[in-house]
Subunit: 243 residues, 2 copies
DNA sequence: TTGCTCCTCACGTCACGTGAGGTGGC
DNA sequence: TTGCTCCTCACGTCACGTGAGGTGGC
């Protein structure tokens, strides 16, 4: 596709070529080995001698390879006609645009690395956790709930929207909020604390009101399941009252 | 820095973990091997069992590794305190911004891949070549000059600004332009053509006018040097007339 | 002789990919 | 029994990096 240069013009050594085009000497040799860049003539000392066309070819190779086009494809592209090259360049341009989008995404994610949940939970769940923080819940309980949500999303993502809706509804109910905070506080009570029996009563009452309203949500029952209660002796007692 | 999860919550297999976080199973094992992600407990079958903290850790690893942070550094970053992490994230953010700039640059360069000189010659030289095209020069001569410029920039970049200025000045002179076009046409003349002697006379006359004006430029002499004339028998004759 | 650039093997690196051969629960 | 997921080696890949040992002109 490119015409050969006349050949009567002075030539460059591999070091000069590399410096001018901004690649390493080793990279040039590598391109020769893969047949991406044609081997040039040698001088009397066996040194490679490059002409202007080599400069042009190498800069083309570099331009294509820099954004990550595999060298085998670079070779194909430059061997192919300029029409095919033009088509591929259009493709590569879209690819680069995509990569720029991706990096911009990654910058956003980086910013979230120190902030906690945002990165690994859906936004609605993060909102629920934030809402509970505002209600004065302990970080310990929030973290347990966060872990439960992570497992829920990982194991049964299809059920998550329903749970999210149920939890949001519950948090709109002042009775639930009081109850839920009480449960949080109860975590550190002595398991023989008499208030646990009253709390169990309140929970049962709320749950039956809720069930009669037709709402389907695993909320309290979900949190109070056999996996979670193990983290607090008081909660274990509470679960026994409810059973 | 992150607190351990309670451990009474159900766990994920390596496949579930990989799918949820969007990495391959092999990548997870690789992270274990390098110590970037802690090895979890095994179940009765020897299968790895992951908790919510592993999900969090893995997403952090992925977030850092995706834009190209070496895994050894990822390990250091996550082992270090969150202050150090924050500092490094600021650095990484600048790095990502730089990469986005770079990709944008590469998109521009890609567009120039089919257009010729723009990619491998400084803008002023490209302007000179374009100007000569407008004056009606043959592509053959332009290409020879292009190759001379490439070699000039590669071998003695410090002299290029002077040459560029000289050439621009010459192209502002209508006498030079006529002469230069004549030289272009003469390339394909028969070496015995009597007009060559007249042309040599005109060149000498122009050069002496130019020298007396105090301008320092290698222009015509540069083009008509021993390296280039070899490409045309008529030019060789012309060079002998001038010698 | 010393320093510099060039030469050709050839092994190393980084982040996994990809079988090879085998186990364990449904 | 078949199919699926998991397991541990261990070699392969891609684009070079990095010595190892040697040559040639100033």
């Amino acid at each position: 596709m490119a015409t050969r240069s006349v050949g009567v013009i002075p030539t460059l050594t591999i070091g000069q070529l590399a410096e001018y085009t901004g690649v390493t000497i080793r990279a040039v040799r590598h391109y020769h080995q893969l047949g991406v860049l044609a081997e040039p003539e040698r001088d009397a000392s066996g040194y490679r001698r490059y002409d202007a066309q080599a400069v042009i070819d190498l800069i083309r190779i570099k331009t294509l390879a820099a954004p990550g086009v595999p060298l085998v494809r670079v070779r194909e592209l430059l061997d192919a006609g300029s029409l095919e090259l033009r088509v591929s360049i259009a493709e590569l341009d879209r690819e680069l645009a995509r990569r720029i989008e991706e990096l911009t995404e990654q910058r956003r994610r980086m910013a979230d690395l120190t902030a906690d949940e945002r990165l690994y939970l859906p936004a609605e769940v993060v909102a629920i956790l934030d809402r509970e923080r505002e209600l004065g819940h302990s970080e310990r309980m929030i973290q347990i709930e966060r872990d439960v949500w992570i497992m829920a999303v990982a194991l049964t993502p299809s059920l998550v929207p329903e749970w999210v809706a149920g939890k949001q509804q519950a948090l709109d109910d002042p009775d639930f909020c009081r109850l839920y905070l009480a449960i949080d506080r109860a975590m550190e009570w002595d398991p023989r604390d008499p208030r646990l029996a009253d709390l169990a009563e309140d929970i049962r009452a709320w749950e039956s009101r809720r069930a009669s309203s037709g709402a389907t949500e695993p909320g309290l029952a979900g949190l109070m399941n056999s996996h979670v209660v193990g983290s607090s002796p008081a909660w274990q007692r509470l679960a026994r009252y409810l059973a």
